[in-house]
Symmetry: C2
Subunit: 156 residues, 2 copies
């Protein structure tokens, strides 16, 4: 199925979605965090068709999210998260948090391994630590950051 590609899109959201904008790809990454490494493990835990899994694993390797690791004493390999792939943990948890905030059950809670207390919900913070909502923020061209705007009051 041919479709528009966003790999060269100027927006980092669009570019990232090229990697994670597919339900199966995200669920494969979720399972990699849960400890799945072998083809058969992903297949079993996700109930995914072999051809789709093959395709998505190839794509995630090409994108640098997963890497193939040889299995000692075997001609086969398994899949491990790369550093780039591990960076997706925050994205997964942001998606999870949104799902829970919408009234879904929170069967699992993210805890700090050290004291086993719940981790704070993800939130935006200003440079001085104030918590910010979506309406308190704005995306501006990086070149303009820190410059005072003349045409617009900053009082809100």
């Amino acid at each position: 199925m041919k479709r528009k590609t966003f790999e060269e899109d100027a927006c980092p959201v669009a570019r990232s979605l090229e990697a994670v904008g597919d339900t199966w790809s995200v669920l494969i990454v979720r399972q990699a965090f849960a400890g799945d490494r072998r083809f058969g493990e992903f297949e079993k835990s996700l109930g995914i068709a072999k051809n789709i899994l093959t395709d998505r694993l190839r794509k995630l390797v090409a994108l640098g999210v997963l890497e193939q690791v040889p299995i000692e004493g075997s001609a086969h390999h398994e899949y491990a998260l790369t550093g780039k792939g591990r960076g997706l943990y925050l994205v997964l948890m942001a998606i999870r948090q949104w799902g829970e905030g919408c009234g879904g059950p929170a069967d699992y809670t993210l805890v700090d391994r050290r004291d086993r207390k719940p981790v704070r919900p993800l939130a935006f913070h200003a440079h001085d630590g104030r918590e910010l909502g979506a309406d308190d923020m704005e995306l501006v061209p990086t070149a303009e950051v820190g410059k005072v705007r003349r045409a617009r009051s900053t009082a809100g």
Copy 2:
């Protein structure tokens, strides 16, 4: 195209992906945050085919992410983010941050409207404010939170 649905999945990540696990859906939400409200605005800013846009808008309304708002003095309507939809801002910014961390250009920066200084990168924090990495945390059954585990050392 028939495919497995995750609406009833126990995992909130899988359930949320039913809403946002599609590149076009996420980009429509991104454009809604950028101010697009009318069918023609989404069509123009995304270069998306009318039939796909119609399908995704219907789905986002059914999922409670967008709502239809009548346009005064017209038989048409436009689309506005609901409260649930506005909650996706953090997900979008988490995806953006991941994209930027992977070496993509950061043409735009998220700033605090009040002082126009950059917002802190999204990060995990323990209850006492310590910043946590993916390896410092664990998803545990909610019923077990706060209980001391016997079989496992918490020293790491």
